[in-house]
Amino acid sequence: MSNDRVGIIGIGQSNFRSRRDDASYPDLVREAVVPAMMDAGLDFDAIDAVVYSLSPDAMVGIGNAERLGVDAVGGRNKRFLRINTGGATGISSVTAAYYHIASGVCDVVLTAGADKVGECGDSQTVLNKIWDPTYERALPLGTINMLAMSAVRYMKRYGMTEEDMAYVAVKNRRQASLNPRAHLRKTVTIDDVMDSRCISWPIKLMDCCPQSSGGAAMVLASEKFIRDNKLDAVWITGVACRAETYWMGDRMGTNPTAEHADAYALGRSFEQSYKMAGITDPSKQVHVAELYAPFSNTEYHAIDAARLVDKFGDSIKRLRDGEFELGGRIPVNPSGGTLCTNAIAVTAMARVAETALQVWGRAGAHQVPGARVGIASGNGGDHQIFGTMVIEA
């Protein structure tokens, strides 16, 4: 590997709300791109390539909506590439932007996108269609039901309770209340979560992410460009992605490679990104984490997979002890995370952006004091495709 690092020099995020009736889809993309470009202090002429972050078309209801997005990202006559890995799309897009630069082909790359999930009405209608039409489409599958079954297996293996799940929701809602960009900002109690209506047992309404509309954008640059132009930056020091089998039923049964209770490939991805960053003991070396967790229970297996605890399942007690909240040992999702804001096309980019803001010391009211090393993750598809990053000041 070369010694030339890749830095993040600009970040833009819109405010995330259920609906944005004042902004068309490309307007919402631009709403994130403009502040990212201003943050970088660059003109569009400086951009060598654009990586466009867009998950399933049906979520925004526009076929190949990257067509409509080209103008909003200043993409005319530039290298242009759309990325879609479902929920992982945002971090996959940052990864693709990273490799454009790490390969030596580009100096400055913009990655951006937006989603309007609130206009879809019922995202599970779209998400049911990610199952194969041959065997499983006729079953009532969706991401909620799929991850409810992960929760049931996690309960069996590690003793998680419904109340343990509620603790995650309470923590993240409290943290989101400090983040003006977050969608769900109202604090809730354990009783509120436990009394909220059951969606797919054990997942209740307040264990679920909202359907959000909003955009995100980031500008990445080569270390040489950053030094030559005397720009401020934080650095992507570890980057990896991993996939696992499509078949949920293969993550159960006899000796599965990827246990459905856990996030196996997420763990392998973290291993690789830690190795690249030279991190040997993440539970001591990581200061802040933005881990993709759209349902409360999934934050536990994300913390396990990121090895912020000694062994799988320890995340339950340690979260309850306050280790992963703002002011704790390693704050997890100080922005409120995916549980409080989920504009699917850019959710995993927001994980990277929030981690970058943390190690930059620019996170605002939800800043983790003194954070210098952060991690971010994204999960996509049927809990199948994962991306991870280490970001350092």
Binding site: D21, D22, A58, G61, G121, D122, Q124, T125, N128, P133, T134, Y135, E136, A138, L139, P140, L141, G142, N145, A148, M149, S150, V152, R153, K156, R197, C198, I199, S200, W201, P202, I203, T245, Y246, W247, M248, G249, D250, M252, G253, T254, N255, P256, T257, H260
Partner: protein, 154 residues
């Protein structure tokens, strides 16, 4: 103070009918279910694992599977959930479904659980605990579909 401007919307509906071909492997699987009420998996000769639902190749050895193996009708519960929310295009709630490792199989098959009282999800969760023995039941009228069968506590 200035009046907020009127913001307009438009409704669009996507409604596309696909006529999916199932291919040879799934066609055999579903005709056996339809005509005989029997469930088959495919064995990978190298790993000896029996994949259900059957696939033409193993994702682990990356070799073609070589043999049809009958599995079930008994099995054990591997995962479940009870759905209380109405989702567009999905059945009226409540319903129970999940995954079952059929006897002789190495991977789990999705299906509904029937004849379970879902009034109290916590009580139902104890009845359908992971590891519970179930048996596959078949509809009298079968059309060659995963909805031709379901699971009940044995």
């Amino acid at each position: 103070m200035e009046q907020p401007m009127e913001l307009l919307g438009r409704q669009e509906v996507w409604n596309i009918a696909y006529d999916h071909a199932l291919g040879e492997t799934a066609s055999y699987f579903f005709t056996q279910i339809r005509d005989h009420g029997r469930i088959f998996g495919r064995r990978c000769a190298q790993s000896n694992r029996v994949l259900v639902p059957p696939r033409a190749f193993s994702d682990e050895t990356l070799l073609p599977t070589t043999e049809w193996v009958e599995v079930g009708p008994g099995g054990r519960i591997e995962a479940f959930t009870f759905v209380y929310e109405q989702f567009n295009g999905l059945p009226p709630p409540p319903y129970a479904f999940g995954y079952v490792l059929l006897d002789g199989a190495d991977t789990a098959l999705g299906g509904y659980f029937r004849n379970v009282d879902l009034t109290n999800p916590r009580e139902a969760a104890e009845k359908l605990a992971i590891g519970t023995r179930v048996v596959t039941k078949f509809a009298e009228q079968r059309k060659g579909d995963v909805l031709d069968f379901w699971f009940e506590i044995a």
